[in-house]
Structures are given as structure tokens and as C-alpha cells.
């Protein structure tokens, strides 16, 4: 056992070392992209509203008159200390945007991912197990059609059917105004906050608000899992060790559930990691559709206001999260699949 944990640790360290150049590339890319835009952040956001002298003063204050290389080094230093600056249009520290609105996004995406994995894995396994039957056909078509549906279109339908016609669920925001006002926010995760403060009616309200956006986002991501799990299971069931298990007289149920499912699901972990980027893209759209005050809708708002500082901060943060998740997923993979560690 001791030997294993050392090799696991060694693997993790190598993986982190590999992530650093990737992070640097992302940061560099973000920095230069934001500088390609015509004008500097200050004049882009506030141009026309301030006098030229005032603009120049603000520009110098923020350091945008210095050479690009100096600004770049400065930017890297800021990122290293997790200082993303203040937004131009409403003078909020970007870190505050990330913490407050990021929590809303986290709540949405985590729930959606749970739904996606639940729906995707179960339908995928059933379809793969009963290959070429009508169950398989239905599962596959569901996967393809649901993946073909834009999140916001599913959101539109959900709002129409479950919001307007059936009136089951609210279609906008994270919670009712009163709940938002009354709830003590410690973590900014409303579910956790309402549990901590023992406010059960608030919890119910928060959950009701979460149902439609999370389901819609989860279904779309789940479409990818259906296809993947199905194909994996079919391939795995043809595997040599599956035949060998049958040759040992292992019960078919055990062969399928114990050997095949487990092995078919290992690559899914990697794909959860890959789908993370898709999940974030989907979150931006879902947030817009359901007025969810997450980091995605903030990004769109700041883009509309041409607030480069806010946009740069949010994009940088997303990049860091993406890389962190990819390392984490590899780690989980190594933990589940002993072969990866070597």
C-alpha cells in the first residue's frame, strides 16, 4: 500500500508540473487577446463619458500607458496573487464577482453535472446492454436529439410548459426576492446557506428555482454521456477478460454489472473532465435563459459594457479553474484505474 501511495503522489506531482506551461499559455493568450481589442480598457469602457484629460489620468493611474511587456509581467504577478483588479463600470473587485456569482454558477453546474451523469450513465448502460433492440434505438435517438437541442431552446420549452402552463416551477433567478433578502449568506451557495441556518422554507424555494435550469443543462450534457457510455460498454463486453470471466462460470449479471460496467465507466471520468468546458459554455447560456445571477451572465453584462478588466478577470479565472479541473480529473482517474499510475 505504501508503494502505491508514493507512486500516486509522484504521478500527481508530474501532472501538476505539466499543467503549469498550459496555464501560462492560457494566461498569455487571454492577456494578448484583450490587448488586441482597439483602445485600452479605460477608453473602451468610459470613452465618450469622460473628458480626454480625465481619461488620460485614469489610464496612467491604471498603468495602461506603460509598455506591453511591463503590463504583461504585472498581469502575471496579479494573477499569482489572485488579484484581478476592480471592474471599471461598477468598481467591484473582480474577486468579489467571482466569489458571489461564481457560487451561483457552481451550484448550477454541480447539480447539472449530477443530473447529466445520472441520466447519461443509466441510459447509456441500458442501451449498450440491450444493443440493437428498440430500447437501444430509443436511448440513442434520445441522446442525439437532446445533444442537438440548444440549452436555451430547452429552457424556453421548460419555461413554457413547467413555468407558464403547468405553473410547477419558477423560471427566473436563484430564489424568490424575499428569500434572497432574508437568507444569511455565508458560502453564497444558497442550498448550503439555507441548510446551515436551518431555514427549510428557504431551502425548498431555492431547490424549486434550481430544478428547471439544472435539469435543462444536465440533460444537454447527459446526451454526450449516453453515446459515450453505450459505445464503451459495447466495446468492453467484447473484451477478452469478459469472455474469460464467462469461461470461469461467473454469472452473466455479475459479468455485466461487475466487470463490464466498471471498465466501461473508467473513460467516463476523463470525459467528465473534458465536458467541463462544455458545461461552462452551457452554464453561460442557461444563466442567460433563466436570469441566473452566475458568473456567465455577469461576463455577458460586462462584455456589453465593454469592461475589459472584468472580462479579463473572469476569463482568467475560468482558465485557472479549467486547468485545475483537468488535473483533478487525472488524479481521480489514477486513483480508480491502477494502470494509469505507471
Amino acid at each position: 500500500m505504501a508503494k502505491q501511495s508514493t507512486s500516486l503522489r509522484a504521478y500527481l506531482l508530474t501532472r501538476i508540473a505539466l499543467a503549469i506551461p498550459m496555464l501560462l499559455i492560457l494566461l498569455t493568450l487571454v492577456f494578448f487577446l484583450m490587448r488586441v481589442a482597439p483602445g485600452d480598457p479605460i477608453s473602451a469602457a468610459l470613452g465618450g463619458r469622460l473628458t480626454q484629460e480625465e481619461l488620460d489620468r485614469r489610464r496612467a493611474e491604471a498603468g495602461y500607458d506603460r509598455p506591453l511587456a511591463v503590463q504583461y509581467v504585472d498581469y502575471l504577478g496579479d494573477v499569482a496573487t489572485l488579484n484581478f483588479g476592480e471592474t471599471i463600470v461598477d468598481n467591484r473587485p473582480v474577486t468579489e464577482v467571482i466569489v458571489q456569482n461564481g457560487a451561483a454558477t457552481l451550484e448550477l453546474t454541480l447539480t447539472a453535472m449530477l443530473i447529466a451523469v445520472g441520466v447519461g450513465v443509466s441510459i447509456g448502460l441500458v442501451a449498450g446492454r440491450h444493443r440493437d433492440t428498440s430500447v437501444d434505438f430509443a436511448g440513442r435517438m434520445f441522446g442525439i436529439v437532446i445533444y442537438a437541442a440548444p440549452v436555451f431552446f430547452l429552457g424556453f420549452l421548460a419555461q413554457l410548459v413547467f413555468g407558464k402552463w403547468l405553473g410547477w416551477f419558477p423560471t427566473s433567478g436563484r430564489a424568490s426576492p424575499i428569500v434572497t433578502f432574508e437568507l444569511e449568506t455565508k458560502t453564497n451557495l444558497f442550498i448550503v446557506d439555507s441548510i446551515i441556518s436551518g431555514n427549510w422554507s428557504a431551502l425548498a424555494d431555492v431547490l424549486r428555482h434550481l430544478v428547471l435550469p439544472a435539469t435543462v443543462l444536465g440533460l444537454v450534457i447527459g446526451g454526450v454521456f449516453i453515446r459515450l457510455v453505450r459505445v464503451n460498454l459495447i466495446q468492453t463486453l467484447k473484451g477478452d477478460y469478459i469472455e474469460a470471466a464467462r469461461a470461469r462460470g461467473i454469472e452473466e449479471r455479475s459479468v455485466v454489472y461487475h466487470h463490464a460496467f466498471k471498465n466501461a465507466l473508467v473513460p467516463v471520468i476523463t470525459v467528465i473532465g473534458l465536458q467541463f468546458a462544455l458545461l461552462l459554455s452551457g452554464a453561460v447560456l442557461t444563466e442567460q435563459t433563466f436570469n441566473w445571477p452566475g458568473i456567465g451572465s455577469e461576463l455577458v453584462r460586462y462584455l456589453d459594457n465593454r469592461d475589459y478588466i472584468a472580462v479579463q478577470g473572469i476569463i482568467t479565472f475560468t482558465g485557472i479553474v479549467v486547468i485545475f479541473v483537468s488535473v483533478f480529473i487525472d488524479f481521480v482517474n489514477a486513483w480508480v484505474d491502477p494502470r494509469v499510475r505507471y
Partner: protein, 341 residues
């Protein structure tokens, strides 16, 4: 000759394809006694592996079997899946060609054994299960310290020994070994063959050893069955068949063995026939140097040459069934044409 533990009669295993049925195993009969090793030899694609799988009932989708495989008073062909499954492990074992991919990569060796024992002997205590597994593994030369390792931590030879241990932990009466050493190097091959020899001596296990390596047969088998195009063409005591092969195919096969004394390579011209539409008469006649006219039209009949030595070839008779004049050599023109097909 003791009572056979496994008795195969007119077994047919055919594969369905888009063009029709592939007659991979076509009306094969043989017996296997306890403590006996029967070598099954032939070129690639002659149906050896299919025969082995057909016996333990491990056929791919689209394949169908017909005939009788009598074991323990039951016919394994057409036995309900659940009953057949219960036999696999405690009564019938199978060892495969490629040991590298035969173990579940996510399971420790220990769990493979526990799963096997829990399935077939649920009454055993966990400690007893572990004791028995480690004992069997130890017999194969795998130290107990490696019991909790994962498959990828073992070499090919060790994995094959683990596979053998897994197949033997319940002491099955019949074990089908499908080219168990083909993927391994020569030294490991010798070790594995040694293990299989011990097995038969110690536990009276009956082995069906499928191989294309005649050297292995000479070394490890009591009897040998030669397969060509889905049929057993000659069968008998290994020594006898090797010394006095009765079928031209066996003779040619033996001549094509490469040894240190070999001068010039011998081979059998042509390729095995298409098993969807095999040649009429004897399937070997298009490649046979001794083919007679009867061979191209009539199915050969099995003839007993000596005690326990049977051959299916018109050269050996029965001569009363060969129509007059049909024992003339087959015309070369016909030979070439059939060869092309």
C-alpha cells in the same frame, strides 16, 4: 482404456455470415479420458479454437452448435445457459491464448479468485477461499506476496500461470487449453507445459490442448487429433501418428516442421479452403499430392488403422466403397483449378 470423461459426437459449430454459414467445425467426434492429454493440431483457421470453445459453450453471437458433447451424463450442446455456466469452473475449465488481456484490469488477483470461489462454492469461509487460492497460485510459482497485486503488474508468463491457477482452483475434470503458450517465449512455454503435465499427473485432469505447434504435441500429449477444414482427419496415439502418419495432410504437416536438421523449407501448396462452400469430397483433395478421382466426389469415411488410430482418407479405404476406376490419380488440370478456388 478407461471410460471417457468427455465424449464428442458429430459436433457441428457453424458461424452465420452475410454469405452463408461458415462450417468451422463440421461433424467432429472424439473421446477424452481422465488424466489424458489430447493434442488438437492444424493450420490457422481450421476450426481448432472453435471446437474448443464449442465444448465449453463459449460461442460468439451468430454461431450455432449441433451434435452431442456428453459430459457427466449430460449433453452440453443445448444445455440451458445457467446449467452450463454452473459447470464452467468446477467441472470445465478454459485457458486462453493471450494471457495479457484475460484478467480484469481493475481487479486485484485476489478478487479474481474470490469471485470465482464465491460463485461456485458460496459455503466456503473467506479465509478458506484465500488459503485455497494462495495454495493454487503457489503451485504455479506465484508467491503469496503478490496476491493483492493488479494484473498489469505481472509479466505475460506470470499472467498465464495466474489464468491457469484460476482455471484450476476448483479442480475441473476437463480443461480446454487454447494455444496456451503461443504468446509466450520458449522458456516460459516450457514452464507452462511442465505445469500442465503435473496437473494431469496429480489431479487426473483431462486436457484438450489446442496448438499449431507439433513439437508441443510430441512433448506433452498422449493422443493427437489432426484437424483440417473443420474436420478431424486423423486421430490416434501421438507417437504412432507421428511415426506412421496415415493421412497425407498429417504427413505433409509433419514434413513442414522446421528443425536444425532441416534442409530446405517444406510447405503444403495452396491455402485452406473457404469453409462456407468447402470442396466436395475430401476437403483436402485440391492440395493433396496423392488425390484420387474418388477424393473429389465422395466424402471419405473414417477407418480404424490400428487400435485407437483412425483416419479419414480414401487411401486407407475402405476400398470396397471406392467405385471401380475411381482410384486413378486426380488429373492435374482439375487439381490446379480447384487449387485456385
Amino acid at each position: 482404456m478407461s471410460e471417457p470423461v468427455l465424449s464428442v459426437r458429430d459436433l457441428r459449430v457453424w458461424y452465420g455470415t452475410a454469405r452463408g454459414s461458415v462450417r468451422a467445425v463440421d461433424e467432429v467426434s472424439f473421446d477424452l479420458s481422465a488424466g489424458e492429454t489430447l493434442g488438437l493440431v492444424g493450420e490457422s483457421g481450421c476450426g481448432k479454437s472453435t471446437l474448443g470453445r464449442g465444448i465449453v459453450g463459449l460461442l460468439p453471437e451468430g454461431a450455432a452448435a449441433d451434435g452431442t458433447v456428453s459430459f457427466d451424463g449430460r449433453n452440453l450442446v443445448g444445455l440451458p445457459t445457467a446449467e452450463l455456466r454452473d459447470l464452467r469452473g468446477p467441472e470445465l475449465g478454459m485457458i486462453f491464448q493471450e494471457p495479457m488481456t484475460r484478467l480484469d484490469p481493475l481487479m486485484r488477483i485476489e478478487d479474481h479468485f474470490l469471485e470465482m470461489l464465491e460463485t461456485h462454492e458460496p459455503g466456503l469461509s473467506r479465509d478458506e477461499m484465500k488459503r485455497r487460492s494462495m495454495e493454487t497460485l503457489g503451485g504455479m510459482g506465484i508467491p503469496p506476496t503478490r496476491f493483492r497485486h493488479y494484473p498489469h503488474e505481472f509479466s505475460g508468463g506470470m499472467r498465464q500461470r495466474i489464468m491457469i491457477a484460476l482455471a484450476l482452483v476448483l479442480r475441473p475434470k476437463v480443461v480446454v487449453c487454447d494455444e496456451p503458450t503461443t504468446a509466450l517465449d520458449v522458456i516460459v512455454e516450457a514452464q507452462i507445459l511442465g505445469i500442465l503435465q503435473d496437473l494431469k499427473r496429480n489431479f487426473d485432469t483431462a486436457l484438450l490442448l489446442i496448438t499449431h505447434n507439433l513439437g508441443i504435441v510430441a512433448e506433452a500429449c498422449d493422443r493427437v487429433a489432426v484437424m483440417y477444414a473443420g474436420q478431424i482427419v486423423e486421430e490416434g496415439p501421438a507417437r504412432r501418428v507421428f511415426d506412421t502418419p496415415a493421412h497425407p495432410y498429417t504427413r505433409e504437416l509433419l514434413r513442414s516442421i522446421i528443425s536444425l536438421g532441416t534442409e530446405g523449407l517444406q510447405y503444403i501448396p495452396g491455402a485452406p479452403p473457404d469453409l462456407i462452400d468447402p470442396p466436395a469430397g475430401c476437403h483436402f483433395h485440391p492440395r493433396c499430392p496423392d488425390a484420387m478421382r474418388v477424393c473429389a466426389s465422395n466424402d471419405p469415411v473414417a477407418v480404424t488403422k490400428a487400435i485407437d488410430h483412425r483416419v479419414r482418407c480414401w487411401l486407407s479405404g475402405p476400398h470396397n466403397l471406392v467405385p471401380a476406376g475411381e482410384d486413378e490419380p486426380l488429373a492435374t488440370r482439375e487439381f490446379a483449378k480447384a487449387d485456385e478456388a
